[in-house]
Symmetry: C2
Subunit: 451 residues, 2 copies
Amino acid sequence: MSALDAAGLDDEVEQSEAWFRSHLRTLVELPTVSPGATDDRDILPGVIAAKELLASIGADAEIVGTRGTPAMVARLRHPDARAHVVVYNHVDVQPADGSAWTSDPFEFLAEAHPERGYLYRGRGATDDKGPALCAVRGAKIAIDRGARIDVTFVWESEEEVGSPHFIDVINARKEALSADAVIVSDTIWPTADQPAISTGLRGALHATLRLRTAGKEAHSGLVGGVARNPIKELCKLANDIENSDFWHSGVCAPDEDEIASFLAAGFDPDYFMHAHDLHHVTTRDPLEMMLRIWTRPTFELHGIAGGYQGRGTKTIVPEAAELKCSFRLVPDQDPMAIADSLVAFVRKANPEVEVALGGSFRPYRAATTGIVHNAIFDALHATTGRCPVTVREGGSIGAVPMIARELGIPVHFLPLSLPDHGYHAPNEYFDWRQARIGIGSFARVFATLGS
Amino acid sequence: MSALDAAGLDDEVEQSEAWFRSHLRTLVELPTVSPGATDDRDILPGVIAAKELLASIGADAEIVGTRGTPAMVARLRHPDARAHVVVYNHVDVQPADGSAWTSDPFEFLAEAHPERGYLYRGRGATDDKGPALCAVRGAKIAIDRGARIDVTFVWESEEEVGSPHFIDVINARKEALSADAVIVSDTIWPTADQPAISTGLRGALHATLRLRTAGKEAHSGLVGGVARNPIKELCKLANDIENSDFWHSGVCAPDEDEIASFLAAGFDPDYFMHAHDLHHVTTRDPLEMMLRIWTRPTFELHGIAGGYQGRGTKTIVPEAAELKCSFRLVPDQDPMAIADSLVAFVRKANPEVEVALGGSFRPYRAATTGIVHNAIFDALHATTGRCPVTVREGGSIGAVPMIARELGIPVHFLPLSLPDHGYHAPNEYFDWRQARIGIGSFARVFATLGS
């Protein structure tokens, strides 16, 4: 912060609410649901809006095509930059189907809130459009106030489906992305009042298991006992996978220091359950909860399609069923090795089941020392008045391990979202308190790195 | 057949095609899907049409209300009747959702067919509206030609959901239904060319298992490992039920004589698989197939609702899931005892799972001797030129064991449907060859019993 006046900076952050709200409204109201779930054409208007936004603050902004949907790359320059940082975010959002939303997911709503200032509702508000805007505003403030730094914003549009074509962006703009560090804000604090720095991501492997046993559904009286029931067989297969150990191989357990940092994180089981609206959990022991979410792999079933799900009764043996599932993987598991094991396991357990592998991403460990880490630590400390803790993240960001490996640049995290914001959940929101912390923290980090 | 001229009767049967087609069209095009699955108001127009149809041939027809949807009861009289037979059918049909239908399920289509004369397509054509009309036409022909018999037609509207209120019809019309015998045609032949008399029905027990673990769906990265996944737990529970033995208790294995009759039935695995469009089966041994369908209980999963089933990926832990399932039960299993065991099993295996019991019906064994059985045997022999075999039925008809127990009247079967007709399946049809056999067989049975 040596180069900047902290009080003046805070004033400028405070005056950013109208700017922030206006641009978040624009981005949220463009329904950029990830490719695959809806029509990919919905993505492009969101990427174009992102480019226009970055151009409007003076960045050199462009759209970079991929084999999938495009990314926006924009560099905001200081004429005498001493450092270059890449900030990664994404404009795509999770689908928002279902009746659990109390408002239109793609209508932006701002509500006054006694502790958070304002809540900003809408799909993508916290994941990841709100945090993305924090970095933009923070960079603009820092550079305008003299921080000698270039910041390149990379906003991709396939994060929620595992960044399958982000490698194209890296390859197309290798030089432009060759920075001193990469910062990602797309992770969360353990509680609403405990700032944190994430130091690890789970990886993931998506798969769809399909089984067809007949050309049409049949009467369960006439054929039951002889017809093979695809739902029953997929249930058995899922249960067999759950009980097998192939997807536990390669797990590196956390060491004592890391467990000590978890214990200092203030993880609150009640808040966690309340934030995610969980009625029942597999454990209520705080450390055990953290270990299960952050350091252990999981196998989750997202849905089973097929058969009859309407009102009343329909006594059929379905002709086909489809199980959508995924694994979360942890350091040092290799998604490709787990994928091979899954295919081999299914082939042996039920040869008629077709395995369609989806996106996969490696787990990631971040450095917990160095100039960038310290700058983030100091910035969060200054904006919140509390020392951030180091934790891990249960989610996955496909681009992060890719950036680290392909560009050889360390990736650091500056988390801004809270568990109660509802990542991937109905009625997602972001809030002004976190936005203010985010803008102020990014501005401070850029000021520090540019000095 | 002593009272009637067989050649003249056959001519009259042959001339019934226009009558049959016209009335089947009327009934099929009234979408009488069973209560529960759709709006119950759809049922009444079908019951009214049935009453009008029976009144138009001179029967005393009325609609009998129940606590559920009503039944039609109609008596066609001979002024000097010596016998009284009840014929049971149902006007309700299975739901016809989904895209597997190649035409509107409730649009009646008649197509010329080289072997079958005509195929009559539409939901309910074979289950059970076509066979119901065969009995009506057969009775009208027999009585008009001098058969001294009264025939009471009982068409209920809740068969496909287990006849939960048929007891109300029995109680309201106990005297009117006190006949010498009851005949039911709602069963099938083992192959397209092998007439058969069913001698047993499987019972059934329907249940829905529900589990809610959260108030809303959650991000599988943020909560996976701690959140309880309701789909995964229902899969495990289904697998545990499948592997448990509580639903096998009370099974009475077939004796050597019955197995010998099965072996004589001409059961053809290839035809069976083709008729039901099964690509994979649990066995291809003919006797083993018959034993599994007719003499052993099954546990079937009809569908699992909950979670994400759309295109692409949505990495959530669902908040709730619902498993629709049923057991088929065989003589001498008691559905209520199995229901108690199911509830106890689930309570122990996963106490948070709610068990909603649906309809249940007892299994049934029919007599294989006596005047009525012999009349059916002779009638099918005369109309097909082949000796019928005695087999069992894998399906269930809730009213049959109820009639036998409440009224103390033996229930016999005169099957007319074929496996290829598609009971409960998309693109259901009936055909004129089977209708002709049905009308002729019913006319002969009534003539015999009225002589």
